[in-house]
């Protein structure tokens, strides 16, 4: 699971609805792998508005990954920024581990790179 997907995942346990706590999910025991991938700047620039930058900063800091605090005025012309963004969201994969909700403590497991976000009957 790449960090780009993690940036979209939210806790959806019943009654867990504090937006500050249910997102982003906090990694626990995350096994990371960097996998080089072809960079496409046009795609990266299109993706920027879809990202929750605050959440991405929280997560990359947690994992010790470099990411600029601010999105530049003209990201399409900022090679260093695009490289850092590309490495963080598209080349950083979480293979195993879990994601914990800071609000309700529910743990979602990641197995072989795939997060399991299913809840039990009583949690929905």
């Amino acid at each position: 699971m790449r960090l780009i997907t993690h940036n979209m995942l939210k806790c959806h346990v019943k009654n867990c609805d504090n937006p500050d706590k249910q997102f982003p999910l906090r990694f626990k025991g995350a096994e990371l792998e960097q996998v080089e991938a072809e960079r496409n700047d046009e795609f990266l620039v299109r993706m920027i508005p879809r990202l929750d930058w605050r959440a991405l900063l929280v997560t990359t800091k947690e994992l010790g990954i470099e990411l600029p605090e601010n999105i530049p005025e003209e990201p399409e012309n900022d090679d260093a920024f695009l490289q850092a963004l590309h490495a963080a969201i598209l080349e950083t994969h979480v293979k195993e581990g879990s994601m914990v909700c800071n609000g309700c403590s529910h743990e979602y497991k990641i197995t072989k790179g795939i997060p399991n976000m299913l809840l039990a009957e009583h949690e929905i």
């Binding site: 699971m1 995942l9 795609f43 976000m117 299913l118």
Partner: protein, 215 residues
Amino acid sequence: MGLATPDTSHLSRPEYATVYEPAEDTYLLLDALEADRTSLVALRPTICVEIGSGSGCVSSFLSTVLSPSPSLIISTDINPAATRATRETTLEQRGVFEQCQTRFVQAFGDRLNNSVDVLVFNPPYVVTPNEEIDVTEEASAWAGGDCGRKVLDMLLPQIPELLSPSGRFYLITIEENKPNEIIEFLQLHGLVGTRVMERRAGREHLSVLKFTRTK
């Protein structure tokens, strides 16, 4: 047919026994996407989602249809074997693929609102008693309950929320699902829908419905 159908021969392995193998409904959806190739590429989709990806055949093919324009393609399924099958199928393909085990897009809360550029769903559409829905992993792929609509109906109200301004939703139906009723329902919620392709396969009269936002 122009584009190659993704290889799903790995589905014969026992670990994938519960995963829906591509069939006529799958191929009809591939054909509909391929027919729209020019306009889909012109959309420059950033985020695509396939709900209930099963084998991953459609998700994988979607990347080919959109190439060389890259897009994030998220595949969801409640069956963990299907998420793994999808991952294996898409690994062969060029693209940015992600899998998530979840019901519909529940894992994403409102993060995908107004953000899905291409949404694809081949739902469990077979008419069955309601008790058969999700009774096994295998059944989750095809058991649709009353009119084969019970599972789809849980998702329908969310479709207008998910689509981006220029977003599209492709859906497989059979006549028993009352496609005109589906079109009418989504029309009340600001989406215009048309039947873009049809095919008879055995006793099933399959259609692909395509929805976009009304201008």
